[in-house]
Point group: C2
Chain length 678, copies 2
């Protein structure tokens, strides 16, 4: 593993050998692929794949028909399924099959973005911050990015987003076509989509039918999408060259040792402690009634995924080789840059900033970053209060999440008619208030302000019983009414958001000035040093922007045992216990006699992916879909920090099991025709 | 902190300066105390304090009257209070005041042990294992200790326990007088005893009235205890020399770096993840009804304490200075021992053993050590099944916890009539089965054996509904009936314990042979090296055996702010919120007008204590009680690994607040007379 790390950190030429890397489309190592695999990845191939790849709000997807049909994971639409459910019925549990295009319900907060162009703005950003100290540069950089986004969107229908690559080594504007009307076409039952549940999550061999279908709409009609990818239903061969186009969410492979130590010592342990407890509260709550079980299912699944990820991230940080390798790489780069005044000693600057971060982190987390107020109603209140205040300011003076470029999406998210369950709100708000008191201490001013004569349970109950923000009409009145409506509101959640707004903004300002600013400034200098020393033949850390990687269909060796790269349907039936999460749903039991039990189910590949790549198409050299990425094996989680060529594997749903399901279980004839599979 | 560590690890003469150390009574540094403080601690003082100090099953206590009256913490009797409660009433919540000796109820599983003598058996143990390899030596050592205990108890009324000191540098027989009839005299309400609850736990300043009174009985009558300690109710002065006599539970200050890394990487993260989730399940369960709240209160309090401790232990292990200092100390000792064949390279042996431990730990934890079967009914079943099998074997061939020396106590614990709540059993058993499946994986043979066609919830429900082991009479029948009764039993929990007994014993055997044995052998050699290099003027790690330390009444400096060593009653009323855990109970509200609000409440001292010292008397140079230890400050938790002279502080209840409570709140006149306080 040490080798893989050095390959990246030292910028050596190893990536082509290791099939490692989340490459931007403008810097894809096509020559290396040609040399190693003989495949021609030309500009036309890249353009078509790029224009067929979709960024969802939380995942990746791809167009698979000319009529806007979208293939992605079941777990990527689970929130949509939950939003379309109620206490009485759960689309997560029952699944959903649209019988014609008129009954495709809208996913109220979902969007589909397709990358149209990338513009390098590094020079403009560098100019804007030239000569400023770290704090001033941090402000000036944000303003410059806001201005550049604004200018880009003016007179264009594209969404423009500023993107920071190489920890500040490059800045880009990414320009997207946005579909903001995305509807549900088909989703299997959760019991088969996430067969094996949390125990099997991040495991392989695997039998999860983690796929779903959406459709992009424009002007109330299915969108025309000439750029889309055909599906090769027979799937790939073992050893075959494959590509993944998608949006890896975030990695920290270029982070400094001090930043990793902060995560190891504070961020992950704190997160894991709090959310393991919340997991217990959710599970116990779910046992209180069938309705409770339904409404808690989606948040619980999402939480358990997060716990497993962070657990393994912490494990990775406990490998001495990771931190030792980081020190060695930093020492080597520092030695190469000795005497270069433009670089200086950015590592010590970051170390100093993370020392401050250790002191500021908990108040920042609980008061500003939402850790003390886990509640949909509170998030609405915070957004409404701040949107009213920020919209009154000039665009470049606003908090970044309230700039003009962000407002339309924010409004969609805030006003979408999705269910808010008071029982769950009571649970999460009371939990987070109690943990805020635990971690900040009962004598912290904000804690005293809220809990001097109330218990966390009591305060949460009062707030949730009193607030009307679960009603989208009330939110719309406050959004439209702006500052005057907020000032006049006696909604207790609005009053709470107002009451803590000043201390929350104050701790955010300190965090931005004393932690974020010096780390940004130092990281830019480290990026410059890296380019000077090793050139630009490296890939940037993941930033939930479009990337392409290559690899092969392959298993791995686990403790002396070879793991084969394909699983088959028969084994799922053998592993079923009769109880969730190892329950084969009735629809599959009924169809069992007609199913080909030798149908391949899941695929293991060497693709370098992380969270955010969920729903990405697995593509062959001819640009056809041969799988649907949905997970990695347990070793893939440490991919956040380094890439272990020997063991890090990505996991895809095999297209053959998707066809088998559509044909024999869900009888989705129209969809099969649209996919050219009949 | 590095200095404090080196003081211990290198065995330098610093302890006398640092007031660090948990000294055995046979090796107390009286000369150092005399030199630094001018106090004479002679053999008579030591003997009287030792014979007045009590080891409870989980804590320390002391005799405070000639009639067997025992002073300890409220949290040390909380399990007894819970056992004396029911779904309808809670002595934890209401407290208890005995009005005369006839209504003192028995704590069914409590014992009070008083150390009478210590016999050094190092030579005998060394002889028994001479020339054997690590695995054989491990077995032979256990047999030798069993034989020595047996011989010691023969013809004596004392309880004899083998004690390992200095990680195997010394072996002793500790001989106790045991009182196995211990009764409850007085306990305040939990709301004042643990005022501040979990948020204030391990915090100072503090206002917790964490005291209670028990009484030892012999032959149905209050025991005669001429050795007891008088209470100096006015308490100590700031800066005064004070001593703590008690039973620190366990520390790992002499552990090797590899052992600490195992705890950092595996043991504590795993524990914290699982028990944080259980905390959430408990809390949510407690909200389901008032009865649920009552029955979950004591287990929840205990759990939250454990979480805070391990959270801070993990923090300590993330301090690079701790592990770096450990490496430096090991390197120094290794260098001194170079060429000494009798020492060899024990550090590498331990490293190799902990590598195996990483692979064996999870199956050992879940299948043998109870992690997969959290249930009082299961613990009864396991004990009954194994006791039947083990009692049929010769004494030295048995598992150590079933030797003749252990059986009487085991029988008491197994047959004691204490309530077992099915709802809570369902919760904990289902939780632990589910986590066993998560951590071992659904395909582990034992997991498949239990859960191939059942969910954790379903299996737990069947077992708890079917078992009769909550009935003490059923347990007695199985205990008395031995192997035949066990074989004939169709109790599902007995069948479960039988079904997993073979795999559980198998993983235990591997753990003992491949982890424990080489670590024991290597640790003995490290201890020998340390004695050779640094002499015997060091103290051993804590082992829940009697120790004495010295220090002073003092606060500390926290982030530039001086913390005074005393708190006062008035502030408790100011901090009250009206809700638990910041609720002042009604009895105190009613008495408020009569109370002296300037009464000192808690005391901070530099005493070197850890868990197990709870309930220890804080003693002045004249042998009088001037406080009741119940906690440490947040920095004290890392005392498991090293002693931070600047910040590690112990916390005691001030005797003046105890007197105030007895007089004006609980009107416990008889007790006051018995304490000579009227």
């Amino acid at each position: 593993m040490r080798k893989a790390l050095f390959a990246l950190l030292l910028g050596a030429a190893l990536p082509a050998l290791a099939d490692e890397g989340m490459w931007t489309f403008d810097n894809f190592p096509a020559a290396a692929v040609k040399a190693k695999y003989g495949a021609d990845i030309d500009a036309a191939w890249l353009d078509r794949v790029r224009r067929s790849t979709i960024r969802l709000s939380n995942c990746t997807a791809s167009f698979v028909s000319p009529d806007g049909l979208i293939l992605t994971n079941h777990h990527c639409v689970e929130a949509c399924l939950a939003n379309l459910s109620s206490k009485e019925t759960s689309l997560v549990q029952s699944g959903f099959v649209s019988r014609n295009r008129n009954d495709e319900p809208r996913c109220a907060t979902q969007v589909a973005d397709v990358l149209q162009a990338m513009e390098n703005i590094t020079g403009k950003v560098t100019k804007a911050v030239a000569g400023l100290d770290a704090t001033a540069a941090n402000d000036a950089r944000k303003k410059a990015l806001t201005q550049l986004e604004q200018a880009c969107e003016k007179g264009s229908k594209l969404k423009c987003e500023a993107v920071t690559l190489y920890q500040g080594g490059q800045y880009f504007l990414y320009k997207y076509k946005r579909y903001d009307d995305v509807r549900l076409v088909l989703a299997p039952e959760a019991d088969i989509a996430s067969f094996g549940g949390d125990p099997d999550n991040f495991q392989f061999p695997r039998w999860s039918l983690d796929f779903s279908l959406l459709r992009a709409y424009e002007n109330g009609k299915p969108a025309k999408t000439p750029d889309h990818l055909p599906i090769r239903f027979e799937g790939p061969e073992a050893g075959e060259l494959v590509f993944v186009s998608g949006h890896p969410g975030s990695t920290a492979r270029l982070d400094s040792r001090a930043e990793l130590e902060f995560q190891r010592d504070l961020a992950w342990p704190n997160w894991l402690l709090r959310y393991s407890e919340l997991r217990g509260r959710y599970i116990q709550f779910g046992k209180s009634s069938e309705a409770a079980e339904r409404i808690v299912e989606e948040p619980l699944n999402s939480l358990e995924n997060g716990i497993k990820v962070r657990r393994k991230l912490l494990d990775a940080l406990h490998e001495d080789a990771l931190l030792d390798g980081k020190s060695a790489a930093e020492g080597a780069l520092r030695a190469k840059m000795a005497g270069d005044a433009s670089i200086g000693d950015p590592w010590t600057d970051i170390e100093r900033a993370t020392t401050i971060e250790r002191a500021l982190y908990l108040p920042y987390l609980f008061i500003e970053a939402g850790g003390g107020f886990s509640s949909a109603n509170f998030r609405y209140a915070r957004t409404l209060v701040r949107a009213a205040a920020e919209r009154a300011k000039p665009n470049t003076e606003r908090l970044r999440e309230y700039t003009d470029a962000a407002l339309a999406r924010l409004e969609q998210q805030t006003l979408a008619p999705i269910p808010v369950y008071a029982e769950l709100e009571n649970l999460t708000l009371s939990f987070s208030l109690e943990r805020m008191r635990e971690w900040l201490g009962p004598d912290h001013p904000v804690v005293r302000q809220l809990l001097a004569s109330d218990s966390p349970d009591g305060l949460a109950a009062k707030l949730i019983a009193g607030t009307k923000l679960a009603d989208p009409a009330v939110r719309k009145q406050l959004w439209d009414g702006g500052a005057a409506a907020i000032a006049a509101s006696d909604d207790p959640m609005i009053r709470l958001a107002l009451a803590i707004d000043a201390p929350a903004r104050a701790v955010r300002k300190r965090y931005e000035d004393e932690v974020e600013a010096p780390i940004s400034a130092a990281s830019e200098r480290i990026a410059a040093a890296r380019f000077k020393a090793y050139g630009t033949n490296v890939y940037p850390d993941a930033t939930f922007t479009l990337r392409l990687n290559y690899g092969t269909v392959a298993g791995w060796n686990e403790g002396g045992k070879d793991i084969a790269p394909f699983t088959r349907l028969a084994t799922a039936f053998e592993r079923a216990t009769g109880s969730s999460p190892f329950l084969i749903p009735e629809s599959w039991q009924k169809a069992r006699g007609s199913l080909d039990l030798q149908t391949p189910f899941c695929i293991s590949t060497t693709s370098d992916i992380v969270g955010g790549n969920s729903g990405s198409p697995l593509i062959d050299a001819k640009g056809r879909i041969v799988g649907l990425m949905f997970d990695g094996n347990i070793h893939s989680i440490s991919g956040n920090y380094w890439f272990d060529t020997a063991k890090n594997r990505a996991i895809a749903v095999h297209p053959a099991i998707i066809r088998e399901a559509l044909q024999k279980v869900y009888h989705a004839d129209a969809v099969l025709s649209e996919l050219g599979a009949r």
